[in-house]
């Protein structure tokens, strides 16, 4: 029963302490709130950038053309060879006949020209999607080496540039999230240190009358947990309502429909959980570190 009593008293004391040191508690809650709002913003940006990157990357393909005189057996052979390249996700074959029909349907001028020609001047082709955009260049190189392949291209140069930019955006936003989490930890730890400093005589007495270290530590750890938890309420409300409203106002897209946004559900739920966890865990760690100084462990 004794451990339960110690835990119960720790929780009770942590509530008491938050109320007794009200202004200090408010200060650390506000600090947490502000940093967690920034964390939430950074998470929203990161996740959306990632999402956009993903969708754009999925649209990047290699188009390969077979030589003019390729037989249908050879076409099948080429298709298997491409499929066997590691990292290739999908290969779609489009014959020159299909191309001709499609082109004629699309443009009346082309229809006249194509009808005028006796033989089909177009080439059989393959559209290849890869698992990872980084594989585009090496895969295209391998395809070019296959017999009867005339050419294989994926918009060289432009693609590399886009991937480069996306990678920079990803790294920067992730770095910002990590930096903000560290800042939050630092702020909570410091405000708990102030709380503990204002209660050092209480800790001294606890030590003198024979409190075990754990029972001295627990109320402060709960207090840090409580401050972090309360500090994450407003950021969560802002995230949930802010994102849902913004998403609806914008119709799910930014930049005139070019960039698609992540659907609010369940995204805002996950973000809220992340905020609660960051707030409370960081609060607990911060206060545990702060109290250790007074405990000669």
């Amino acid at each position: 029963m004794k451990p339960f009593r110690i835990i119960y008293r720790s929780i009770r004391d942590s509530f008491k302490s938050v109320l007794r040191n009200f202004s200090l508690s408010m200060a650390s809650i506000i600090c947490t709130t502000i940093t967690l709002i920034l964390v939430a913003l950074a998470i929203i940006v990161t996740v959306n950038v990632n999402y956009v990157t993903k969708t754009m990357e999925e649209e990047l393909t290699i188009v390969a053309y077979a030589n003019k005189e390729t037989t249908s057996d050879e076409i099948n052979e080429i298709e298997t060879k491409i499929k066997n390249i590691s990292g290739v996700k999908e290969v779609v074959y489009k014959s020159k006949e299909e191309w001709r029909v499609e082109m004629k349907n699309n443009s009346p001028t082309l229809k006249v020209t194509l009808d005028y020609l006796e033989s089909n001047p177009l080439l059989d082709s393959f559209v290849i999607t890869v698992e990872d955009v980084e594989d585009l260049a090496p895969t295209a190189r391998l395809i070019r080496e296959i017999e009867h392949i005339e050419s294989a291209s994926y918009g060289e140069g432009m693609v590399e540039e886009i991937i480069g930019v996306f990678n920079i955006i990803k790294t920067v936003t992730i770095a910002i999230v990590i930096a903000l989490v560290v800042v939050t930890a630092f702020l909570i730890s410091n405000t708990i240190k102030l709380t503990i400093f204002s209660r050092r005589s209480e800790i001294e007495i606890m030590r003198l009358v024979g409190s075990s270290n754990i029972s001295i530590k627990l109320p402060f750890v709960f207090e840090g947990f409580l401050l972090g938890l309360v500090g994450s309420f407003i950021p969560i409300i802002i995230t949930v309502y802010g994102y849902i409203i913004a998403y609806e106002k914008l119709g799910g897209t930014v930049s005139f429909g070019v960039i698609e946004l992540v659907n609010p559900m369940p995204f805002v739920l996950y973000t809220s959980i992340v905020l609660v966890v960051i707030g409370s865990v960081v609060g607990m760690i911060g206060s545990a570190r702060a109290v250790r100084k007074y405990l000669k462990i």
């Binding site: 029963m1 004794k2 009593r5 110690i6 008293r9 007794r20 005589s201 209480e202 001294e204 007495i205 606890m206 030590r207 003198l208 009358v209 024979g210 409190s211 075990s212 270290n213 029972s215 405990l295 000669k296 462990i297």
Partner: protein, 233 residues
């Protein structure tokens, strides 16, 4: 049987000050001992080694067969639960009532509320403060505050009560009242009491064993001694 045994004990602080040098003494169960000496003679250091706030640099400090200097920081609390400690500066929590201050010591060690109540009331009765349970420390006189501290120190029935200048902040009359309370605890509860002081009148009046320190060295150890240090200074 020797309750407290100190053997060839030294305490050298990190700054190089030797606060206790080659101290050896025994204290029996139920004794009332004064530790006297000029300011800086090492009284507080000796007291601190008894409740393991400081470790001896060399030598042995033993209480009830336990080598106190060997106790690890993590388990010091087990020793503290068997001791009562009283200081010059009271160390009461200003936002708690008299009752809560005394109960605090038992709550800290995880005792049940139903067990805490009778113990706290008994301790407060012992120091004559039963009518003041609801008062806050700032509503009490210095002597009353010190009696709350004594109640808190004895509430868990310790075998040993350690006092570092408990009358240092009090006028002579109040000091005498505190001494009466301590003497009563020593006689009626059988608690061993070690009290550091430089209050000449009290030492002379109480006629107890007196251990005199001089620059950390044992200068004199007298049964029913008196305050001799005043002559040497």
């Amino acid at each position: 049987m020797k309750f407290i045994q100190i053997k060839n004990c030294y305490k050298v602080y990190k700054n190089g000050v030797t606060a206790i040098a080659d101290l050896s003494l025994d204290i029996n169960k139920g004794e009332f001992v004064f530790v006297i000496g000029a300011s800086g003679s090492g009284k507080s250091t000796l007291i601190k080694m008894l409740y393991r706030e400081e470790k001896p640099t060399k030598g042995i400090v033993e209480i009830g067969g336990i080598n106190v200097g060997k106790i690890r920081n993590r388990t010091v609390y087990k020793l503290r639960r068997k001791l009562g400690i009283v200081f010059q500066d009271f160390k009461l929590l200003p936002k708690l009532t008299v009752y809560e201050n005394v109960a605090f010591a038992l709550e800290c060690i995880g005792m049940k509320s139903s067990e805490i109540r009778p113990k706290v009331l008994k301790a407060l009765e012992h120091v004559g403060l039963k009518e003041k349970v609801r008062s806050f420390p700032n509503e009490l006189s210095g002597g009353e505050q010190q009696r709350v501290c004594i109640a808190r120190a004895i509430v868990n029935d310790p075998k040993l009560l350690i006092c570092d200048e408990p009358t240092g902040n009090l006028d002579p009359k109040t000091s005498q009242e505190i001494m009466n309370v301590l003497d009563d605890i020593n006689k009626n509860l059988g608690t061993t009491i070690i009290m550091a002081t430089h209050d000449k009148d009290i030492v002379n009046k109480m006629k107890k064993r007196v251990i005199t320190l001089d620059s950390g060295v044992l200068f004199e150890d007298h049964e029913k001694g008196s305050f001799k240090i005043s002559e040497t200074i």
